[in-house]
Symmetry: C2
Subunit: 256 residues, 2 copies
Amino acid sequence: MTEKITSGQNKKVKQWRALTTKKGRKATQTYLLEGWHLVQEAIKAHHDLTAIMGTAEQLADHAAELPAGVATYELTDSIAQTIGDTGTPQGIFATVPLPKDTAGDPQTADGVWLFLDYVQDPGNIGTMVRTADAAGLTGVVFGKGTASRFLPKVLRSMQGSQFHIQLVEADLHDWISAFTARHLPVYGTNLDRNAKSYRDVPPLTAGAIVMGNEGNGMAPDLQQMTTRNLYIPIKGQAESLNVAVAAGVVMFRLVS
Amino acid sequence: MTEKITSGQNKKVKQWRALTTKKGRKATQTYLLEGWHLVQEAIKAHHDLTAIMGTAEQLADHAAELPAGVATYELTDSIAQTIGDTGTPQGIFATVPLPKDTAGDPQTADGVWLFLDYVQDPGNIGTMVRTADAAGLTGVVFGKGTASRFLPKVLRSMQGSQFHIQLVEADLHDWISAFTARHLPVYGTNLDRNAKSYRDVPPLTAGAIVMGNEGNGMAPDLQQMTTRNLYIPIKGQAESLNVAVAAGVVMFRLVS
């Protein structure tokens, strides 16, 4: 059963528009997936969908892949353009429940984790989650100051990896202490050229890698809690690497 | 000598505003550096500057580092806000000459080069140039379809690496043929899981790595010209890596 919506003043349309804000997500306990790629990733992962919304054309194009039993809404083209964050929306969306448990448990977490300390750029954050997924990590912990994983730009650059690996919001002090108490190595990253090279440590099968803020790097108090802090040697004259590139280089060296 | 400009209708102000367009850059044969970091990189590299423009505050803050003999213009805050591309300009800018020779010579080029085939996202392009600089490459060739290196967003993400390594615009067919004729390895990248892993080739001291379009990868005709095409094995469920992350992983494995 598909309900047609033709008024931009419709209550549901207003709720969907509000999903680009934290307040709007909290009100309905859902967040928005924009575009077929993300909707498809949720379907493939058998993730709960609370609604599917699209233009007549988009709903018809993907009819064979849309799951039965999910409330579906047909939108006019002009309404579809007012939902979501992208300048040129594809005209298909879904809403999914906000995860209930975002805390995770550092006492039992296994495999390798990426810890994000005060990473601010949404594109960098989403790209690191996607790379962590590709490199075979278990999950990513969003520490204090790190932008929300429900921001439209984070969701876009994650490309659906939130359905593949665990994402947790927590205090990194707790996770670093728990891992080191369990004798799992936690490798911080450091801009100091005298730190140990990332090439000089053994591969990780369980433990964590910490990436810090784009401008300032990892917080000094967290650096003092890690097993060791690693540096990526720079051969040329660039002062530093983009944080998502640095994370990729380290994860593919130590984990994948 | 600093000239004060108080009218937004000033001819020079109009020229500077036009530098975000190709036509504007061509008219004055210059391009725009926005923000102190990029201006400082140009100064440190002893690069020619044709003008320095800034608010009274910014010019005073950086007076000790500004080179003598360059035409300097003091702008009102409101004029400074109309120049350049960033939403929150820092209030300091410089213009530098467009490079005269952008062709390069694949017959004599030495070291390792990054070839970009139809890469479209300005942030990805700039990040790859910055990473190539950090990894110790000699230069980057901007092939057909790759966005211009003078776009404001490319310039921002390069972070001044255009002053450290060579940037060339050319047909990649010519560069790949010339390198392979000189027996220099050219490694393409491939999304085919049956291709050779990037870990299974020896380090490069001279040659090239080719990165392709974000959605479609390298053009098939170029793939057939390379020495070999490499694949980055994906362990998790992500379908692919961001192109700038993939380039970083390969460059730091094969070159740095």
